[in-house]
């Protein structure tokens, strides 16, 4: 894509964002009694650095000890795992992350993440929504919140895309389907079915749509159902998307060999490369998942396998964004639902079990300090010793990086108040 295009869509996006924000501040969604929160949100918006988020979710619970919070002095905690030094002076990483080590000068490590959700479903849910699971309400995912509060940067293509992700954790919740992620099952195939089949003439295609539209209007007239309505709107969105010149953002086959080599060839690597293309074309929030971190059984072999998928892809993404000048506008998050126990479970072939009370997440780009370590766990990596960061604080920090009002109250259709990060408070120390 040529740089002037990017600037234009960027400028457009900025204006759109401002108008969206204004509408929200003034709009019906706002609770008058929370007036002060809006005032405090405004300066945050002014200080904003990041426009986009690439959210890499390590599904299953990434072992903090074997990756970004190693304890080399504790042999009983580390087992066969060793730590290596990185480009940031006081940051060590697990030995299977050599390429990542070389970009740690651009990364902020949060070693003091802490949560009370020790089961996958609950842990994944709270990381994505800032709220605990409830039977009566489905909370929107972080990407949906960012769209709701910030709007789209590029009106023609989806603002929230989820690659290789579980649809359960990337939904729009009570914001509705309009705010749900556009799912991409296979990064190499891009957005499936986004082109009209060649055998159909444009005229027939249009006729089909207009017939379907007539049928749908009739049906929707009969049933006031939110999902039915959502499909009607999604048709309009899909057509806009098909006609967009930015559709090519979804095609990683356009990337030159040299760029592919930076990322490596795995599925996660392709997801990261696609995420960069999308961000470049104005997609606001891209989530990419890497599964398989639930290393109860044979932890060390499993972690090695996961790191092989992760290491080059992540390092490649940071380097590529940096080289294109996109890193300052793009917040790259590495998150997971919890860490793993310092105790090695010999019964399960040296496995590690779930450990929510202390774990590690990463931030990079988007105005975050590089080579910076925030928070600390005890000698075994079991408890947070200094500067605990709750899941809600973490999500508030992401919102803050984007200049979004983390304390703005938005009402659900059932009339209950919610915020992007619940009661979370941004960790402002991590920003440069």
């Amino acid at each position: 894509m040529n740089p002037s295009d990017f600037n234009r869509c960027d400028e457009l996006g900025r204006r759109r964002f401002i108008s969206n924000a204004a509408r929200l501040y003034l709009g019906v969604n706002l609770l008058p009694m929370f007036g002060p929160s809006v005032a405090s949100a405004a300066p945050a918006a002014a200080a904003s650095k990041a426009k986009n988020v690439i959210y890499l979710f390590m599904s299953g619970g990434m072992s903090h000890l074997d990756t970004f919070d190693p304890k080399p002095k504790k042999k009983d905690v580390m087992g066969p795992m060793e730590a290596i030094s990185s480009k940031a002076t006081d940051i060590l990483v697990g030995k299977h992350l050599p390429k990542t080590a070389a970009v740690m000068d651009k990364v902020c490590v949060i070693n003091s993440m802490t949560s009370r959700q020790g089961a996958h479903e609950q842990g994944t849910y709270i990381m994505h929504t800032s709220y605990e699971m409830r039977g009566t309400v489905k909370h929107p995912s972080l990407g949906s919140w960012v769209m709701k509060l910030g709007g789209r940067l590029n009106p023609e293509i989806p603002g929230f895309v989820a690659i290789d992700a579980s649809q359960d954790s990337t939904g729009g919740g009570f914001f509705g389907a309009k705010y749900a992620a556009a799912p991409i099952g296979s990064p190499s195939e891009g957005l499936q079915d986004s082109r009209k089949p060649a055998v159909i003439t444009q005229e027939d295609f249009d006729r089909r749509l207009s017939l379907a539209d007539r049928l749908n209007k009739q049906f929707h007239g009969r049933y006031q159902n939110a999902d039915v309505k959502a499909y009607e709107e999604l048709y309009q969105e899909a057509i806009r998307l098909m006609n967009s010149k930015d559709l090519k953002a979804f095609n990683i086959n356009d990337e030159p060999q040299s760029v592919r080599a930076t990322y490596g060839s795995g599925r996660f690597a392709q997801g990261c490369m696609l995420a960069r293309r999308l961000v470049e074309h104005g997609v606001r929030f891209v989530e990419v998942q890497l599964g398989g971190w639930d290393t109860h059984y044979d932890n060390f072999a499993a972690v090695e396998g996961r790191c092989k998928e992760f290491d080059q892809a992540y390092a490649g993404l940071i380097a590529d964004l940096d080289q294109r000048g996109l890193l300052k506008d793009t917040l790259v998050v590495v998150a997971t639902e919890f860490g793993r126990t310092p105790t090695i479970n010999t019964e399960h072939q040296s496995g590690r079990d779930h450990h929510p009370s202390a774990f590690t997440c990463l931030l990079a780009g988007g105005g975050v300090k590089g080579g910076f370590k925030y928070g600390e766990t005890d000698a075994k990596g079991e408890r947070v010793k200094k500067d605990p960061v709750t899941v809600q604080d973490f999500n508030a920090t992401i919102a803050h990086a984007l200049g979004l009002p983390h304390d703005l109250v938005v009402m659900s259709p059932s009339g209950r108040p919610f915020k992007v990060a619940d009661k979370g408070v941004p960790v402002t120390d991590v920003f440069a």
Binding site: S59, Q117, G118, A119, H120, E121, Q122, G135, P158, S166, Q167, D168, G171, G172, A177, A180, A181, P183, I184, G185, S186, E189, Q192, D193, S194, K196, P197, I200, D204, R207, L209, L211, L215, Q218, F219, H220, Y223, Q224, N225, A226, D227, V228, Y231, E232, L234, Y235, A238, L241, M242, G292, H296, Y297, A301, G305, T341, E347, Q349, D353, P356, S357
Partner: protein
């Protein structure tokens, strides 16, 4: 066309014949019992309406009933023939007959399999595990096909142990699927079968509920000890073969068959009945690492002392779950079935049990619980009763639900088809009645490095039995050497080729895009599949399926599978319904019945005739496309 009519008619007539009064039928097969039970339910529902001063909703028309009954009971739309036949016959009892026909269809167990696969997270494989769960998947699928009683099914899963390949004990997959994470597995069991949410208590006392961490560990003691059977005899050999370069050899691949596919699928022990508290145990009622016995947290208390060595914990747990938890087990099963048939549970969410006396309509729930008992947990018969109620036939409610979490009978809520209902309906349009295709069979061939070997000579069931019978390291080494030599010999000759063909003929395997039922495809379907786009569960979490709309689904309808396989494919089955239709009106009418299971309104007929006039033959394709893309097609009314 005529013969197919008679085929359907014959099925309906047969069921009528069975339905004739005979003596001593079990209640599940007794039409009198079924009708009586259905009326009892309707009485309670009507009483509730009266109490709320609401009008009882009207009964829906034939076309809506037809489509709803098909989708709810067998998970697909009717074929053109089935639809036309039902709509055209004039018989006061035709709804009852249709339900009989559907419940006897193989489609019933296919549809139930999708439900239970989602509930139990039945998956073909797992990252980092070289084996697969083929025999377990097959066991579950067969249990649905046999309509195994729900209490027996539950007991078989929870009390399982032994050989993962033996069809009698393959239920062990319930535990081996979660090897290394027995606590998650247990929390899921409590949620699935008893509607008790205990996940939080794995790590801490539940601040909102009543469960303490100590309770959870006492419960976990029942299932403690889930190692593989006799795998220790192979430890050394496996360590040698895993080392360095040997991983690239056929020796390693052959050993992997024994290590992952045999031992890895086996389940030793039968539940120790005792467990150590975890190292981070934080409460005063126990010390980290302390050995505690098994005790159930509610219902009729069952205990096993930590001083005993008899084991038998899983059996005791299974019995407690199904027989000693009062109404809870039956209530959760009945409520899940109610949700399947009526669209939402009597109480929601269905995986959080609520005592009957706390509900808005306790009489209804009490009746359902009693019915579950009378029918001995026969889920098919239970659903048959529900399908025969007037409540099932209520007109759709045009307004959004008034009550968020259950308890709402203002007519049926509209809901989008599940991904499996949608897929199974699309293939019905593309290839005709999918229930005529043989179901996927278990692949019991021995795979070495992804290639089947020794086909016709030995299968996994035999191999597994032999390996698990080995009683020392020496025997394991000897067996391995002999297996390796057999495999090597074969790879040297091409002799087994013909055997392979013969065997393969018996094994039905379907690629991800074959026009067969979702229940016969890989579980879960690959992420490029329509099933994923429309929210099929990824089998990671209990009830993980999603019906949320997204733009990818709409793109798929406009440009993907639908266009390729239905609209632009002249061989698609749905075009056969046009055979013999003489007028444009008749053709349009048939397309409507084939796709939407109803005739067009006069207004719609006008639009469609205009389309045919303007576009000629292509007009029919445009009509097909528009009908499949319509919300009416996507939603269950």
């Amino acid at each position: 066309m005529k013969t197919i009519h008679f085929g359907v008619a014959a099925c309906l007539l047969v069921s009528v014949a069975i339905g004739a009064p005979t003596e001593k039928l079990p209640p599940g097969e007794d039409p009198v019992f079924i009708a009586k039970s259905a009326r009892a339910i309707d009485t309670h529902v009507a009483a509730w309406y009266r109490k709320q001063k609401l009008a009882v909703p009207a009964v829906t028309d034939d076309a809506t009933f037809l489509r709803r009954a098909f989708l709810v009971s067998i998970g697909r739309i009717p074929t053109a023939e089935e639809g036309r036949f039902f709509l055209e016959i004039d018989d006061a009892a035709k709804r009852v007959q249709l339900i009989d026909y559907l419940m006897a269809s193989p489609g019933y167990s296919s549809h139930m399999s999708n439900w239970v696969f989602d509930l139990l997270r039945v998956t073909d494989g797992k990252p980092g595990f070289a084996g697969n769960f083929e025999p377990y998947r097959d066991w579950v699928r067969r249990a649905m096909e046999k309509n195994m009683a729900w209490d027996e099914f539950t007991r078989s899963l929870l009390s399982s142990n032994g050989d993962g390949w033996d069809p009698k004990t393959a239920a062990v997959g319930y535990y081996t699927r979660d090897r290394g994470m027995p606590l998650d597995n247990l929390a899921n069991s409590m949620r699935i079968f008893l509607g008790s949410r205990m996940e939080c208590a794995q790590c801490h006392d539940d601040p909102f509920g009543e469960t303490e961490r100590h309770d959870f560990y006492e419960l976990a003691a029942f299932t403690e000890g889930q190692g593989a059977l006799r795998q220790g005899y192979m430890n050394k050999l496996w360590a040698e073969l895993r080392d360095g370069d040997r991983r690239q050899t056929i020796d390693y691949n052959v050993a992997q068959v024994m290590w992952d596919r045999v031992y890895g699928l086996s389940l030793g022990g039968d539940g120790a009945g005792k467990i150590h508290l975890p190292q981070d145990y934080q409460y005063r009622d126990g010390d980290p690492g302390q050995l505690i016995g098994a005790r159930t947290p509610f219902g009729k208390t069952v205990r096993i002392s930590e001083k005993r060595d008899g084991g038998g914990g899983r059996e005791a747990l299974a019995e407690w779950v199904t027989d000693k938890t009062g109404e809870q087990f039956a209530s959760v099963a009945a409520n899940r079935m109610w949700k399947r048939v009526m669209g939402q549970g009597v109480y929601e969410p269905v995986d959080e049990y609520k005592p009957t006396k706390e509900l808005h309509h306790p009489e209804l729930m009490a009746t359902l619980i009693r019915l579950m008992g009378d029918l001995d947990y026969d889920l098919r018969a239970f659903q048959k009763v529900l399908l025969n109620t007037r409540t099932f036939q209520f007109v759709p409610n045009p307004k959004p639900s008034k009550v968020q979490a259950g308890d709402d009978f203002h007519g049926r809520q509209l809901v989008r088809l599940s991904s499996e209902q949608l897929w199974d309906s699309l293939i019905t349009l593309a290839a005709g009645d999918p229930d005529k295709a043989p179901r996927r069979s278990m692949d019991d061939r021995i795979y070495v490095a992804n290639k089947p070997v020794l086909v016709g000579k030995k299968n996994m069931i035999q191999l597994s039995k032999e390996v698990l019978a080995l009683e020392s390291e020496a025997e394991v080494r000897k067996y391995f050497a002999s297996l390796l030599s057999d495999v090597r010999k074969e790879s040297g000759s091409a002799a087994s080729g013909s055997d392979a063909m013969m065997m393969a003929g018996k094994i039905h395997r379907y690629g991800a895009n074959s026009p067969v039922r979702a229940s016969e495809l890989p579980s879960p379907a690959p992420r490029s599949h329509l099933l994923y786009l429309f929210g099929q569960s990824d089998r990671e979490i209990v009830d993980g399926a999603s019906r949320e709309p997204n733009v990818g689904q709409v793109l798929s309808l406009m440009n993907g599978y639908v266009q390729e396989q239905l609209v632009n494919n002249s061989g698609a089955r749905l075009y056969k319904s046009l055979d013999g239709a003489s007028s444009d009106e008749e053709k349009i009418r048939r397309l409507y019945i084939t796709i939407l299971s109803r005739p067009p309104s006069a207004e719609e007929m006008g639009w469609m005739l205009d389309e045919v006039k303007a576009s000629g033959d292509v007009g029919y394709r445009n009509i097909v496309s528009a009908l499949v893309m319509s919300s009416e097609f996507l939603f269950l009314q």
